[in-house]
């Protein structure tokens, strides 16, 4: 049976405002002592009232506009009622039928695909985050549950897509693009592991022939791109197998279990809560003036797409390199800082995307805390270009720079590993190499042009890579010509 995969995403992003959404408490709660970033409002103490942080609206506007949404000028907040210990008021202040924005879209190009796809965005709305439960265990048994309300009231933006996504790869492409975008907008750090970006997925299988929609399941608890991809793949396979056996897919919420690599049932649709949404009487309707929308629109920073185009035009980079450079805003910034002082852009891009990313990746280090500044890298590249060191030596030096934080010049001075450009010194080595490899010399004389590269390699080996390769080649040719 031919079928189509139907996926819709619900993404929550924590906004990087200084204060929480309805009070003045600080949002920098991560790794802080429990319940130190709280007040009567975010603790939901009796009598406390919410006051909307206007920065949250501004951040929501930025994101919605970047997602090509239509902004609702009249916003309502609603109460979503349910009981859970991490929800101190027993209702979450959210938006329901009058969210801040609707009907947007995002263009994506999935990995290994040449054609772009448009994923429609159904809505964007503002809401508050809940606290966090901490379970104390003894011998695998929960003996005590504690609540940390530091996260309570952190502003969230929920972004809901239409079910336009047809594969796990497209889902990842959408999320990566969204993450890059919110980082560029500086509204969210986009960290899935820390939970500042969270994603739930609705998945179903549609029969291609009839177009009949299948029953959907909702999958939660995926904390990395890898987990999302694996969870989606698992869920698709699971549903397909059920359908192949003519069994039913149950409408339910499922949880991704990282350890077992499976999605597990959490609750069925019948058990779903009735949230009894109604307009929040403690907050008056929010009116967003057209002038505010225009102001935010006019002040939007350069977005990833625009930056990519600029990189291709200004720096003559390939689409692929440009895309990789802009994907993380700070990496793009690093490149641009270096490009101010170094004009061989292609070479620079190769170094940033090659050695730099490799070292960062190996050490699991963020570009922000990289010890090699963009100026340091430029200095290193200039030392290659003026032939003080070879490209090969430079790679070793870069690693040292990365490890020690010292500049290229300092490292070279310390170890004396400059390039050997003394002809007499190189000629002595050449004599020895020719002596040791008479057959290769013969092969070259017999017309095997490539044989000379072996000889160059031998010279480089003897000089531990410090000889200047161009010079070695010239001197070798000269010497062989003379000999023959």
């Amino acid at each position: 049976m031919l079928d189509d995969i139907v996926i819709g995403l619900e993404i929550h992003i924590q906004l990087l405002t200084k204060a929480k959404i309805f009070c003045n408490c600080s949002t920098t709660y991560f790794d802080q002592e429990p319940n130190t970033h709280t007040c009567p409002v975010c603790l939901g103490l009796p009598g406390s009232l919410p006051v909307l942080n206007q920065k949250v609206v501004e951040f929501a506007l930025k994101t919605a506009l970047a997602l090509n949404c239509k902004i609702n000028q009249t916003n309502l907040f609603h109460r979503k009622n349910y009981f859970y210990p991490d929800l101190p008021k027993a209702y979450q202040i959210s938006q329901f039928d009058q969210p801040i924005a609707i009907n947007g879209f995002l263009e994506i190009v999935p990995e290994n695909s040449r054609t772009g796809r448009t994923i429609r965005v159904n809505r964007v709305h503002m809401e508050e985050d809940a606290g966090k439960l901490i379970h104390l265990e003894r011998d695998g048994q929960i003996v005590c549950s504690l609540v940390d309300y530091n996260r309570s009231g952190i502003p969230l933006l929920e972004i809901v897509t239409e079910p336009d996504i047809c594969s796990p790869e497209e889902a990842i492409a959408f999320l990566q693009k969204l993450r890059t975008m919110v980082q560029y907008l500086e509204v969210c750090d986009g960290n899935l592991e820390k939970g500042s970006m969270r994603c739930d997925a609705n998945i179903s299988i549609r029969e291609s022939r009839t177009g009949a929609l299948g029953t959907k399941t909702e999958v939660k608890n995926m904390n990395s791109f890898r987990a999302i991809k694996k969870a989606l793949e698992f869920e698709i396979t699971r549903q397909r197998r059920l359908l192949e056996r003519s069994e039913q897919v149950l409408a339910e919420t499922r949880r991704w279990d990282e350890a077992s690599g499976k999605t597990l049932s959490m609750r069925s649709k019948e058990e779903a809560l009735d949230y009894r949404y109604f307009p929040e009487p403690d907050l008056p309707p929010l009116t967003i003036e057209q002038s505010w929308i225009e102001q935010v629109k006019n002040n939007l920073p350069e977005l990833p797409e625009q930056r990519k185009e600029r990189f291709v035009i200004d720096y003559k980079l390939s689409n692929y390199d440009a895309q990789r450079l802009i994907e993380v805003k700070s990496l793009g910034n690093y490149f641009e800082n270096a490009a101010q002082y170094y004009q061989d852009y292609k070479n620079l891009a190769n170094w940033v995307l090659g050695e730099l990313l490799r070292c960062l990746g190996e050490g699991n280090i963020a570009i922000e805390s990289c010890t090699v500044s963009s100026n340091d890298l430029v200095e290193l590249l200039q030392l290659i270009d003026n032939k003080t060191i070879s490209g090969k030596m430079a790679k070793g030096i870069f690693e040292e720079m990365f490890k020690t934080g010292q500049s290229a010049a300092d490292l070279i001075k310390k170890s004396g590993i400059t390039q050997i450009s003394n002809e007499a010194q190189i000629n002595d080595i050449i004599n020895k190499v020719i002596e040791d490899n008479p057959e290769t010399v013969q092969d070259f004389n017999a017309g095997k042009e490539k044989a000379i590269h072996f000889l160059v390699g031998q010279v480089m080996k003897h000089t531990k890579g410090r000889a200047q390769p161009d010079l070695v080649l010239n001197l070798l040719k000269e010497r062989i010509d003379k000999n023959s």
């Binding site: 009796p46 009598g47 009622n81 009981f83 210990p85 101190p88 008021k89 027993a90 009735d274 009894r276």
Partner: protein, 495 residues
């Protein structure tokens, strides 16, 4: 005269003339409390040491020649659903027994900053739900005029305390009449300002879209005096209004020649006690004699007020009171099997019957499939009721009517007839739904048993100034009424 019998305005005059001390006033109040409280039960908490300490501190300031703060140590009783930092705030519910707020409500903050003293916390119907103060989980407050009757509610403790001179003035809350009804039943002045006039921050909600902080005073001037302190926009309450606050005390003393009074036909129907109708009509005649113009008007949708009100407040209460779940503060039943069991047991045992009724009804009204039929429809009718008033206020400046259609009733009636508890609210609730200012002024007494009769004056949004002015002028005309005091011999009877 013992100082606890002073009007607030007279107290301030005497303090400023340095003829009396704050300490002596507080002591006289505490003496009266000691004399009557055993019977009256108006207070849930008496701030003895705290109030005396404050009083001494303010006296010291005054004697050292420092500026006298606006309220100059005025002892004020506070309804126990308003958060007072460091003082237990229970909402007269087992659910909040032992809850000590870590913060002051904005209204408390303003009172403290103005030099007011909190004398204690008053009894109320649990979470302000009721009109007799019999729904308190802890005690039943009695009417100082007749201790076989209720003081009205839900601010019954505050009204009884003021009427019995156990406080010079009190702060209550009014969602559907909870300041005006007890003011009427206890023969004092009760003002519910326009919705948004006074910050609700720190007021434990019953129904957010209708809760108001109000004042219960012995006379109109006292009410105006405290209004000057508590009104105004608050950064902590998004529903508070950024509307200028006039000097109510100054403006209420002006005349009423310019004012036109509407008499709503619907509020003089057969539901109204004959004696009440008579007294209110006498007062209306006085208004005319004083130069006020009269016109009969109609509020056709007011008859739908009760179901509209009950649906909206229940829905909001069902959500607003959900936070009392045993997790963070207040009551928790520890003997439970799991989380859900803890919620169920805690909430079943923590809330009284009336609160549970409303939570259940509110939950039902908001459930999927019922929302449009109940909550949404109620909101639409609320708009119609509001429009009734808008139409009326195109013709007149103020409306006058009986506050309650019935006299203070005997305690225990509610147990026999659940719906009867809403009878007193008929003329009160439409005003609450429309968010308008309303004041109850005593306009006389019934003949057989001497029971107070209240007259309600209703104004346009944010026109408390006119409401107070009309009330002040009428109060002077009715001065023989104000000379009558409750008979406090009951303390020896029951004591």
């Amino acid at each position: 005269m013992p100082l606890n019998e002073l009007k607030a305005v007279d107290y301030l005059k005497l303090i400023r003339k340095r003829e009396i001390s704050v300490e002596q006033t507080v002591k006289d109040i505490l003496k009266q409390i000691d004399r009557l409280e055993q019977t009256l039960k108006a207070y849930l908490y008496i701030n003895r040491e705290g109030a005396l300490q404050e009083a001494k501190a303010i006296d010291k300031k005054i004697s050292s020649g420092e500026d006298i703060p606006p309220l100059a140590g005025l002892p004020i009783a506070i309804k126990d659903n308003i958060c007072t930092k460091g003082i237990e705030t229970t909402c007269a519910s087992k659910m909040l027994k032992g809850f000590i707020p870590p913060y002051d409500a904005t209204v408390i903050k303003k009172i403290k900053e103005a030099g007011g003293i909190i004398i204690g916390k008053n009894n109320l119907d649990e979470f302000a739900m009721g009109s007799s103060t019999e729904n308190s989980a802890f005690q039943t407050t009695l009417n100082p005029w007749d201790i076989t009757r209720v003081p009205g509610g839900s601010s019954g403790g505050s009204a009884a305390a003021v009427a019995a001179h156990e406080a010079l003035i009190a702060i209550g809350t009014d969602t559907g009449g909870s300041v005006r009804i007890p003011a009427s039943f206890c023969g004092i002045v009760g003002l519910k300002p326009t919705y948004g006039r006074v910050s609700r921050y720190g007021v434990i909600p019953y129904a957010s879209s209708m809760d108001n902080v109000g004042v219960l005073g012995k006379v109109v001037e006292d009410t105006a005096l405290l209004m000057n302190i508590i009104c105004g926009y608050d950064d902590y309450d998004s529903t508070s209004a950024d509307t200028p606050v006039p000097d109510f005390l100054l403006s209420c003393r002006e005349g009423i020649n310019d004012l036109k009074f509407g008499v709503p036909r619907e509020f003089f129907g057969p539901q109204v006690d004959i004696e009440i109708k008579e007294k209110v009509k006498e007062a209306i005649n006085k208004i005319e004699q004083m130069g006020g113009k009269l016109e009969e008007i109609s509020l056709p949708y007011s008859e739908y007020s009760f179901p509209t009100y009950y649906l909206i407040v229940s829905a909001e209460a069902g959500s607003g009171l959900a936070r009392f779940d045993g997790v963070q503060y207040g009551l928790r039943i520890e003997d439970n099997d799991n989380l859900e069991d803890m919620y169920k047991k805690t909430r079943s045992k923590g809330f009284g019957a009336e609160v549970l009724y409303r939570i259940i009804m509110g939950t039902y009204a908001l459930s999927t499939g019922n929302y449009d039929d109940y909550y949404l429809r109620a909101q639409k009718v609320r708009t119609l009721i509001r429009k009734d008033f808008e139409n009326a206020f195109r013709k007149v400046d103020l409306l006058v009517c009986p506050t309650s259609p019935e006299l203070p009733f005997k305690k225990g009636r509610q147990q026999k007839d659940l719906l009867a508890q809403f009878l007193p609210d008929a003329h009160i609730i439409p005003v609450s739904l429309a968010g308008l200012p309303g004041l109850s002024l005593n306009c006389g007494f019934s003949k057989k048993v001497q029971l107070p009769i209240g007259l309600q004056i209703i104004g346009r949004p944010f026109e408390e100034e006119k409401v107070l002015r009309a009330a002040y002028n009428l109060e002077i005309e009715l001065k023989e009424v104000n000379s009558v005091q409750p008979n406090f011999t009951f303390n020896s009877v029951s004591g």
